[in-house]
Amino acid sequence: MAKLLRVNMTDLSVRFEDVPEKYALLGGRGLTSSIIYDEVPPLCHPLGPDNKLVIAPGIVSGTKAPTSGRTSFGGKSPLTGGIKESNAGGLSSQKIARLGIKAIIVEGQPKEKGRFYVLRVDKDGARLLPADHLKGKGMYEVCDLLWKEHGEGVAIIGIGPAGEMLMSAAGICVNDQENTAGRYAGRGGLGAVMGSKGLKAIVIDDRGGPGVEIKNPELFEQGIKKLTQASLTHDVTKKGGALNTYGTNVLVNIMNEAGGYPTRNFSSGRFELASQISGETKAEIIHKRNGEGMTGHPCHPGCIIQCSDRWANPDGTFKVSVMEYESVWALGANCGIGDLDKIADLIWLCNDIGVDTIEMGDTIAVAMEAGLLPFGDADGAIRLLNEEVRHGTPLGRILGNGCVFTGRAFGVTRVPAVKGQGMPAYEPRAVKGIGVTYATSTMGADHTAGYTIAPEILGVGGKADPFAVQKADLSRAFQATTAFIDSTGYCLFDAFCVLDIPEGFEGMVESCAGVLGVNWTTQDAIRLGYEIIRKERLFNEAAGFTRAHDRLPDFMTKEPLPPHNTVFDVPPEELDAVYDFSKWPKEVVGEVAG
């Protein structure tokens, strides 16, 4: 029987509990959001003792299901003030699941400020160990030291100095098979929540663990067969397909072509240096340098898509993982920087200091807009991260709290954020549906929450006109289905193949049903997704959010964006329709009470 592991940082105790009936069929985001909804007072301070950090592998994580090693991290976000789930790949999910743990709940706060601990979890239980020797250290060194102390191969979940300093842009890092610090649950400042608990790292050693119980092996096998088939045949996810060959950064050219690639703090939808930082160029350079770099890298064992990469320096030595679309955009185009080696330096620093690359890219761009440094000044950006943010100088603390905080400090009004969270790499004035997702998602501006880019730009999962404003139904449907996928442990990139191949989605659902021993239809899965986003929405309402928070920043409704010279003109009623429960599809969710 799987257990919940409750870690109380006030009295430094750990305890295993039976999983309550109501959580039995949940995993990943469904579980983190339900526990937050049930246990965290919506009005609590995100960095106070009443907030909790909940960590949950997905429903099928730890089994042989392909590409299913995502770990969900949940809590009340210090960046948005609302509920947050952010998930990452790396080693942690499969190992937590194989120890028979459904979720780790970290609560309370140490009485002694400035003390940090490591939580070690293995087949014999869990222990809190002093971590004074790790205090202030960057994530690369933390990973090295913890493998030396706990053995090679253990999973590490940790925070850098930014998390220790409770910065709202701080993320939570997970190591990969090479023990590189590079997989981040970056968004929403959950690294600061972990820091506020006095927890520097979690070490998970699954050797000798019981493994994951599969209640209906036949259904499970049938499910993963269908999903594997879909994943291996779809042009995007197959071996030698777009994600595997070029990584997510393959999106640079198409978003730039579509005029939706935010450039220089969202002042243009095209970057004249885009081709220098595209996925094609990145792959070409990695292969030309022919050293320790590689494309087609899996972020955890068992991923069959392998969209990750390892970037090498000009001399071929390993530099950083991973040069993915969002990070390269945030610290590249959005800051007017068109040099992949400089961008690699910036990503390396973010990963070491422990800050979200998207939030830091937005923040540095706002600082550039404020005149702290010119657009394109890569060395200046490196200095801001390495000398200011890392050391928590007064300027570093302003930057480390994200783009909204920085905009306020320097009087900048062009700040691309919703609910306090900086926007990712898709321009809502050129792609209206993603703007609807940014505006209404329970997470703040988040592309993964409802990736309407698929039909609007990529022609996946049908086709939609990116400039059309009637996007409530589209965004809502994506938000609900994503909430389900985020609960399974499967990587969201599996969505590309299940969007186009119905058997793939059936297989995904059947593999979950096989683990849980239930008979789920695809409809049941989507209903679960709706239940999750409804709970998250209710938490946010109780935390003080109103419809006024479901809006894009003012400048986007007024400043036309080149090259198409369009503004964000989705009417407010359309935005409000997304979370108007009376408009939810009754055939899926029945009557929903608000």
């Binding site: 042009d235 777009a242 393959v250 094609e280 990529l458 022609g459 996946v460 969007l499």
Partner: protein, 86 residues
């Protein structure tokens, strides 16, 4: 008339020099997106998403002098029914 054409991702394997910048092509008046693709040495089924001046167009779209065309292989996806996006 003259148009500029860029191809991306794996399509570049079929056109030497395609990664160095747009190809400038002379095509007859009235050429459609579909006819343009037929003239290029790329497998037509791999020309999945086509932008003309930054706007996605289908194969029957008629090109104009000076148009900028971007052609993408399936870098994400195909023509599926999108069945789960209810």
């Amino acid at each position: 008339m003259q148009i500029k054409v860029q191809v991306y991702a794996i399509l570049r394997q079929y056109i030497p020099g395609a990664s160095r910048g747009p190809l400038v092509m002379d095509v007859p008046e009235g050429t459609t997106v579909g006819q343009l693709i037929e003239q290029l040495p790329i497998p037509p089924e791999l020309a999945r998403v086509v932008f003309v001046n930054g706007i996605r167009q289908e194969s029957d779209w008629v090109l104009q002098e000076g148009d900028e065309v971007g052609i993408f292989p399936p870098i994400a996806g195909g023509e599926g029914p999108g069945s789960w996006a209810i």
